[in-house]
């Protein structure tokens, strides 16, 4: 038997790499897609898929039920506006952000992997853009998917196509803005600490405390009869900021207490929009500063 020739292991020695090196932009894209997949637990352990997938399902389930009801009972219009859906489901969005923002940035800080990135062609701006982009995209998938379910359902129920398409567009712009705002706030909170637990707590606290405080004071303001104050109080929590912007510019009905009279008009809406944009830019700036310190 000449098995010895078949079973030989050849040590082929070291091979050099002459192929292409695709540089910064490619590395940034790779980091973006790896982080985005990671935000849903893809390419990671089964355990880390559980929570994001459950939250995704919870986010889409009400939309599916609404669609089922709308198709079955032949409604003329959806019982929930596209723009309202994310406001109603804000707790789920908050939980998702609290769970996944630390996952996206704290791991690299805790295990000191960041220097390995910065010793490669990739730079601080690439790292921050990739991580921020991935977090915002993950949130956009989370908040946009149920809107698409609603849209498909509305078409199945033979609602007016042009109305529905316009409203879907407004809804998507709104959740796009929400994703950028929430993603930025979540990453800043998470990047301040390498400890995952602190990150989770900080994100939840930021979202719930500000929203709780704002809606309580708004309710008190209504009782006291000052509807003008309600309009400006909304500036102080992320979700009411989005509410204000979409009420002013995206044809949404406000979720503020007191209804239409307390909703921001075009002037106040512009302030809301500016604050949202400033917060997004600020989050980016803080992340850039944060990573200046941890390079190597």
């Amino acid at each position: 038997m000449s098995a010895d020739t078949a079973t030989q292991i050849h040590n082929i020695g070291y091979r050099t790499y002459e192929g292409p090196r695709l540089g910064r932009a490619y590395a940034r894209r790779s980091l973006y897609s790896q982080s985005l997949r990671g935000a849903y637990g893809l390419g990671r352990s089964a355990k880390s898929k559980v929570l994001p997938m459950i939250l995704f399902a919870v986010m889409c389930l009400p939309a599916a039920i609404i669609v089922a009801v709308a198709v079955a009972t032949d409604l003329d219009d959806l019982p929930v506006d596209y723009t309202r859906y994310a406001i109603v489901m804000q707790a789920v969005i908050g939980l998702y952000l609290a769970a996944q923002a630390p996952q996206t940035v704290s791991r690299d800080l805790r295990f000191k992997t960041v220097p390995l990135y910065f010793s490669r062609p990739i730079e601080r701006v690439d790292y921050v853009l990739a991580k921020y982009g991935a977090m915002a995209t993950a949130l956009f998938v989370l908040t946009g998917a149920p809107l698409l379910i609603l849209y498909v359902g509305s078409l199945l129920a033979k609602m007016d196509l042009s109305d529905q398409t316009l409203e879907l567009g407004q809804g998507l712009v709104s959740v796009g803005l929400l994703s950028l705002l929430f993603g930025g706030i979540g990453l800043v909170m998470a990047a301040l600490t390498p400890r995952r637990g602190f990150g989770v707590a900080a994100v939840i606290a930021t979202l719930t405390i500000t929203y709780g405080a704002v809606s309580t004071i708004q309710a008190i303001a209504i009782e006291a009869g000052s509807t003008g104050a309600v309009k400006w109080l909304g500036l102080f929590s992320p979700i009411t900021l989005i509410d204000g912007v979409q009420t002013a510019f995206l044809g949404a009905a406000t979720a503020f207490p007191g209804g239409d009279p307390s909703a921001p008009g075009a002037g106040a809406g512009a302030v809301y929009l500016l604050v949202v944009l400033a917060l997004i830019a600020g989050s980016y700036g803080i992340l850039m500063r944060r990573y200046r310190k941890v390079g190597l």
Binding site: L22, L116, P121
Partner: protein, 332 residues
């Protein structure tokens, strides 16, 4: 490969590098210095991540101030500290790092398999890294620095935390990185002794300035110090003195000092090994006197000791601190 010209780096309170001029060629180069000597600062500047206060530096002919990204594409870096996430496997991690260096997905996977095999990780590369030993972690850290086939790797204290066997394996691996892979190496350590055996060239910095830069053979001659300890016997009640006389007669240079403050210090002879034959002389002398040889070993020594004006002169205060075996229990 690396050239610096009066490179300085000053922080508000300390000067990390002070007009350092170096010229490092291909091969394995050791960068030796105590903690805080400026080794890590130098590496940061060489990677183009930290601007120098003054002076210039170039790596692979590229200026660090203007071509940082181009340098980092051709250079690998292995940090001193832990940098591995425990919940991913070595393969996944190194593939990701290869892509961060710009390798296309297929090439990244092939190079990862190759590189992990070369550093000596086989089946375990599919397991999460949290369960790895320190030696395996160091190999993964080395692999991620090599995966994109750099022209030069900067290794920051690669033997830290390893036991003597792991240390030797890592040093052998570093040697192979140059001889088999053709990649030049700059390796830092605070132990001169271990770099002597691995490097072609050793650069010593202290307080941000160049103490000495020379090829390893220059060092070996000045530094090979043997420590010999013998037992007493009935024929020679004081074995140590008897051996000293015998060795002096045989023409071996003995260091005057003893190792103060160590157990059994008076019984240890320090002598200069001028070559292989010194070992034989000691062996024969001990055998002739009928003494028991407790130990004969090469001393790893404090860096500053190498730079004594006269190697045979009495040791300056505080310089005599052997890095290892200090706590060895004497067998007698």
């Amino acid at each position: 490969m690396i050239a610096t010209e009066s490179l300085s780096k000053r922080f508000p309170r300390v000067t990390a590098l002070d007009r350092l001029s170096l010229d490092i060629g291909p091969g394995v180069t050791g960068l030796v210095g105590a903690n805080g000597a400026g080794k890590s600062t130098l590496i940061k500047i060489l990677l183009g991540l930290s601007p120098a206060t003054e002076g210039r530096a170039s790596v692979l002919g590229l200026d660090v101030a203007t071509s940082g990204a181009a340098i980092r594409e051709q250079v690998g870096y292995m940090p001193e500290h832990d940098c591995l996430p425990p919940d991913v496997s070595a393969t996944e991690f190194v593939v990701h790092m290869a892509r961060m260096s710009g390798l296309p997905p297929t090439a990244a996977r092939e190079r990862t398999a190759d590189t992990l095999r070369h550093v000596g990780l086989y089946e375990e590369r599919y397991r999460p890294m949290g369960g790895y030993s320190t030696g395996m972690k160091q190999r993964v850290k080395l692999a991620q620095a090599l995966v994109h086939d750099p022209k030069l790797v900067l290794l920051d204290e690669p033997t830290n935390g390893l036991d003597p066997v792991g240390r030797d394996e890592m040093l052998g691996l570093i040697r192979r990185v140059h001889t088999d892979f053709g990649i030049s190496v700059l390796v830092t350590s605070h132990l001169l002794g271990e770099l002597e055996r691995t490097c072609d060239h050793v650069v010593v910095i202290d307080g941000g300035t160049l103490l000495r830069s020379s090829s390893t053979s220059d060092f070996t001659q000045a530094t090979a110090t043997l420590a010999v300890e013998v037992t007493d016997s009935d024929a020679c009640p004081d074995g140590t003195s008897a051996l000293r006389e015998a060795l002096t007669a045989a023409g071996v240079t003995l260091h005057a000092g003893f190792e103060e403050g160590l157990p059994g210090a008076g019984h240890i002879l320090l002598l200069e090994a001028s070559g292989e034959e010194t070992y034989d002389i000691v062996r024969d002398a001990v055998a002739e006197l009928g003494l028991g040889l407790v130990r004969m070993e090469q001393r790893r020594r404090h860096i500053a000791e190498v730079f004594r004006p006269d190697a045979a002169a009495a040791r300056p205060e505080g310089a005599a601190r052997p890095a290892d075996n200090a706590m060895e229990v004497q067998a007698r």
